[in-house]
């Protein structure tokens, strides 16, 4: 029997039981749609995180405190409070460093009139926009003088400003951070939110002010260092290490109480984590594809039983085992592949909706689609072969008398 004939038979057969066909396909549709959607979500999240990290500036080195060690127990990285504002100041003297911005962060209630929100209040230095790649929108950034004199001035992230109802005319107005009045000196340009954390929702104040009013100690969470040229990244990393080793009294072979991380390291770590997550999600989703395949096998076995007499007739009029086998296999394949195609449409639509909701760029990945099609084909073959071979092996004498 020819390929076209087999296909025509399968289509007309599946057309006669639309409800059954639809329900059987549903299993594959759900399986493929969830694979496509979850992989796309995984990739969208990854590229979102990546662009956020790249937005920080590729010449960025982050210095973070090391772990606390209490007896034999080692705490989480960054749990120690060993880095200080003075450490940050010391780093500014290094030759290839373009800027140093410590971050002294606390979460505070910020209020203007009846508007208020809780957001990150970060104590930092004038180098902050340079190091973390921000542009001014209105007013000016914190000055060295404001840091030197612990002035109560604030620069607002764009989202924070609009949440508080502040605009271009608000420069010079007063906001209240934990009830204390601050003068707004500038508003940053938006950097663009990507998924999880919004880089535009923050309030920046002089690092000294933050230490005195909100944090109480001068131990900083992070020191961002902007390196003048990308070529000097490793040199500067070594210089930072040696300066801090010296300041913290760590000799050769001692365990440093801080970590210097470059943006590329961070990117590759995030990349490998999110790849792992994507694979995990796809793996979970493909379980439902297998369940869908079992649904197909079930329906095909029932179908072979129901159509025993038809199989007998076909054999009597000249069908070979192979013809019968292919007829049933084609039905299973048509079920799984058309289910797969519908599933791709559903999955792509779902991932587009999720992308819009989460605010990252919708990426359409043809590889995922191709893999899904191949996968549903394989499911069709695996779960279609057994019922089809059952049909092919039927004895025509018995099948013709089957009621």
């Amino acid at each position: 029997m020819k390929l076209g004939d087999l296909l025509r038979l399968a289509i007309s057969r599946l057309g006669t039981g639309k409800l059954r066909t639809g329900l059987t396909m549903l299993g594959v549709i759900i399986g493929v749609a969830s694979v496509v959607a979850l992989v796309s979500v995984g990739q969208g999240a990854t590229s979102g995180i990546n662009s956020r990290l790249e937005g920080l500036g590729t010449n960025l080195l982050s210095v973070t405190p090391g772990a606390t060690t209490t007896g034999a127990t080692r705490g989480a990285l960054g749990s120690a409070t060993t880095l200080t504002i003075e450490d940050a100041t010391a780093l500014t003297t290094l030759p290839d460093v373009a800027g140093v911005a410590p971050e002294l962060t606390s979460s505070r209630l910020v209020a203007v009139g009846s508007q208020n929100e809780t957001t990150s209040v970060i104590g930092t230095t004038p180098a902050y926009p340079l190091v973390f790649a921000y542009q001014m929108w209105q007013g000016s950034f914190l000055t060295q003088a404001s840091v030197d004199h612990s002035l109560r001035v604030a620069v607002l992230g764009n989202t924070t400003a609009s949440n508080l109802g502040l605009g271009a005319s608000s420069i010079g107005s007063t906001i209240y951070i934990s009830g204390l009045p601050f003068q707004v000196v500038g508003i940053l340009q938006p950097k663009g939110g990507v998924g999880f954390a919004n880089p535009d929702d923050e309030v920046l104040i002089p690092v000294t002010t933050a230490r005195d009013l909100f944090v109480g100690t001068d131990s900083v969470r992070t020191i961002g260092v902007s390196v003048a040229s990308q070529a000097d990244m490793s040199t500067v990393t070594a210089e930072i290490t040696s300066v801090l080793d010296q300041r913290h009294g760590i000799g050769a072979g001692g365990t440093p109480d801080f970590t210097v991380t470059s943006q590329t390291q961070l990117l590759s770590t995030v990349g490998s984590i999110s790849t792992l997550l994507t694979v995990l999600l796809a793996g979970i989703a493909s379980i439902s594809l297998i369940v869908g395949g079992i649904g197909i096998m079930n329906i095909m076995l029932v179908s072979v039983r129901e159509r025993t007499r038809e199989i007998g007739i076909r054999k009597a009029i000249g069908a070979r085992g192979r013809d019968v086998m292919l007829q049933f296999l084609f039905e299973a394949l048509l079920l799984s592949v058309s289910g797969g195609l519908i599933g791709i449409l559903v999955g792509v639509a779902a991932s587009a909706v999720i992308a819009v909701l989460a605010g990252w760029a919708f990426t359409f990945n043809p590889v995922t689609v191709a893999v899904s099609v191949v996968f549903s084909l394989i499911v069709g073959v695996i779960f279609g072969v057994w019922p089809a071979s059952q049909a092919a092996r039927l004895d025509p004498v018995v099948a013709l008398r089957y009621e």
């Binding site: 020819k2 006669t16 054999k315 009597a316 000249g318 004498v397 013709l400």
Partner: protein, 224 residues
Amino acid sequence: MSEPVISLEHVSRVYDTGKVLVPALEDVDLRIERGEFVAIVGPSGSGKTTMMNILGCLDRPTAGRYLLDGTSVEDLDDNGLATVRSRSIGFVFQSYNLLPRTSAIENVAAPLAYQGVARKERLARAKEALERLGLGERLHHQPTELSGGQQQRVGIARAIVTEPALLLADEPTGNLDSHSGAEVIDLFRQLHATGRTIVLITHDVDVAEAADRQVHIRDGRITA
């Protein structure tokens, strides 16, 4: 004289039920020449069904030789038998056995599909066969939309569309009223007149009268 269409030599068919061996055909010799119209007559349980399965290459003899249209079939595997059925045999069944949810013309065209005939030619030949049997107005009717007599005529059209060497009919009038039955028998007479070899298997002596020769079978043996 040309070779016979059917030649059975010492053919036996024994069913192995696991505990006992049940002989259904024992040492049967039978020759049917080209263009003959033969009725194989016997009561139920006489071995006619086994005979029909063997003649139709649906089953193999356990002993003896069977030459169909010059081909020895007792050693063929399942695929070989299917090829022989496709090329040399046209079946007409008591219960018509049309493919369900399939129009008359598609039913008649189906055996040609298994011969690898192109669809256009298949449909043309099926249409011609149906028209020859007076069903030119019923080409696109489903089996459920046809009367018993019409269904059986579709069945006959399907059996002759491949121009087989042997037309094998198993109680073709068994499910029909006497009028339709007579029409079907008449059709067989007409087909016989055009030179077809027909084997009619029946328990009905009156139906068997239509054939030129009667072969009586009882307890797995040919008696006359």
